[in-house]
């Protein structure tokens, strides 16, 4: 496919990796923020191409993984009511709540539907005026404009049976939290290319200056990621700490202004709990008062009151450490034993972008067949 295949060329990838190897003189620890990048790194074995002095740690950039248990419990409760059609992206289906997942709710007769786009849920609201269509609004800044547009359309069409259970999270406050945490070892960030496609990268500039940390906005194909690492290494070795843009073909400094204007019109920042990490100030989004009629948490607050205050994590799940880059998935004692994609203890094992799922999917064959080299995957 055009603008995909060109960025997977093996000889170019080796050339970039060799250039990185030539430049690195000291140990450096780099975090890729986005779960999509984590999957590309593990899938294509990019970490095996890099010099040993360079450590890649995986960040919290999987919105499915960081959705707090309390919100999953609310989703399960809503999905269990006969009048509700609950719409969600497929990734959320198996994420465990305190006791049940959306998959369990569906198996018990709840009307849970998988959608590709918030617009699919909007179409259901138009074709089922007698049902309440609730859509699970999960995602970072990349995804929030799509939900904002769905809400604006619902208002324009005067649909009163459409609402969102909002779980949106914002990337820069999470990066700030990681950098401010005691024991932080991240020295450079690959910032998430599609988040910055929407938001631009001006909000990362104060972060880079305050923490003296280089940040490179990076794409998702193997060559994008390797070039992002190369740009970071040049900064680290040269003692610079600024924001640079590797993903020039999609990201502009000011972002997508139509999308950011839409976000500002429909949503406002709010405090948000991150699963496994805790509450981070102003790290989430909620609907503005003008759109409160589309907020499922308000619309069904009486019904949801019974789920409040009971959220419980599985005590064995170490996903909080994994999401902060403090533990590799394979270092967790439950990994692949008591925690698998079929029977997950936590969200990173089931989400399409979860770090645990990436290692389970792409590294298990390597564990079984040590004769196959990781670099062979390019």
């Amino acid at each position: 496919m055009k603008y995909v295949d060109e960025y997977r060329d093996r000889s170019a990838a080796e050339a970039v990796a060799n250039e990185i190897r030539r430049l690195v003189t000291r140990p450096w620890t780099i975090m890729e923020v986005c779960g999509g990048q984590t999957h590309a790194i593990v899938r294509f074995g990019l970490d095996a191409l890099l010099p040993e002095k360079l450590t890649l740690v995986h960040g919290p950039g999987c919105p499915v993984c960081v959705t707090p248990v309390g919100l999953i419990d609310q989703a399960v409760a809503l999905a269990s009511w006969p009048q509700v059609v609950f719409c969600t992206f497929g990734d959320m289906l198996r994420v465990p709540g305190s006791r049940r997942s959306l998959f369990d709710a569906k198996a018990a007769g709840g009307d849970v539907r998988l959608v590709y786009s918030p617009l699919d849920a909007l179409a259901l609201a138009q074709s089922h005026p007698d049902r309440e269509i609730v859509c699970f609004a999960v995602g970072f800044e990349t995804t929030a404009p799509a939900f904002a547009m769905a809400v604006k359309e619902a208002a324009r069409l005067r649909l009163s049976n459409f609402s969102l259970l909002v779980a949106h999270v914002l990337v820069p406050p999470a990066m700030e939290a990681i950098l401010s945490a005691p024991g932080n070892r991240v020295q450079g960030f690959l910032a998430a290319g599609h988040v910055c496609t929407v938001m631009g990268y001006t909000e990362y500039e104060p972060l880079a200056a305050r923490h003296r940390i280089p940040i490179v906005v990076t794409g998702f194909e193997p060559l994008d990621i390797l070039e992002g690492v190369l740009m970071l290494v040049r900064q680290l070795e040269g003692g610079r700490a600024v924001v640079e843009n590797q993903y020039v073909r999609s990201v502009r400094r000011q972002g997508n202004e139509a999308a950011t204007a839409l976000l500002a019109e429909v949503f406002e920042p709010s405090p948000r709990a991150w699963r496994g990490i805790g509450e981070i100030p102003a790290s989430g989004l909620r609907l503005k008062p003008a759109y409160a009629a589309y907020d499922a948490a308000l619309k069904f607050r009486r019904e949801l009151a019974q789920t409040a205050g009971r959220a419980e994590e599985d005590p064995e799940c170490r996903s909080g450490l994994v999401l902060q880059g403090l533990l590799k998935p394979t270092e967790c004692p439950a990994f692949g034993v008591r925690c698998t994609p079929e029977h997950p203890l936590g969200a990173p094992m089931v989400s399409g972008e979860g770090a645990c799922a990436a290692y389970y999917r792409y590294r298990k064959p390597v564990m079984r067949d040590a004769s196959r080299s990781i670099g062979d995957r390019m």
Binding site: Y3, A15, F89, N256
Partner: protein, 90 residues
């Protein structure tokens, strides 16, 4: 979750969501172009959950591809000359 893929704009509708047809290597899908007001038929866009979120800067994309090709060629030359040098010394 932030997965987004490039596709080419085939046509642009005039409904409220500016729904257009996008071709992903031959497979087509209807996508809202409301967030990319500048887009024209033939452009490449990055598509995420039913919305185009940016227009691909094709000049930038091609420049990057050329740069990678040049790096690969230089790397091959370096490898060959390093191998020749080690043969000469051995």
């Amino acid at each position: 979750m932030c997965l987004a893929v490039p596709g080419q704009v085939v046509n642009i509708g005039d409904d409220a969501l500016r729904t257009g047809t996008i071709s992903f290597g031959g497979m087509t899908k209807h996508v809202s172009l409301a967030l990319v007001p500048e887009v024209r038929v033939g452009d490449y866009v990055i598509v995420h959950v039913g919305f185009a979120i940016s227009t691909v800067d094709e000049d930038a994309a091609l420049r990057a591809i050329e740069l990678f090709k040049a790096m690969a060629a230089r790397d091959r030359r370096d490898t060959v000359s390093a191998a020749t040098a080690s043969e000469e010394t051995s």
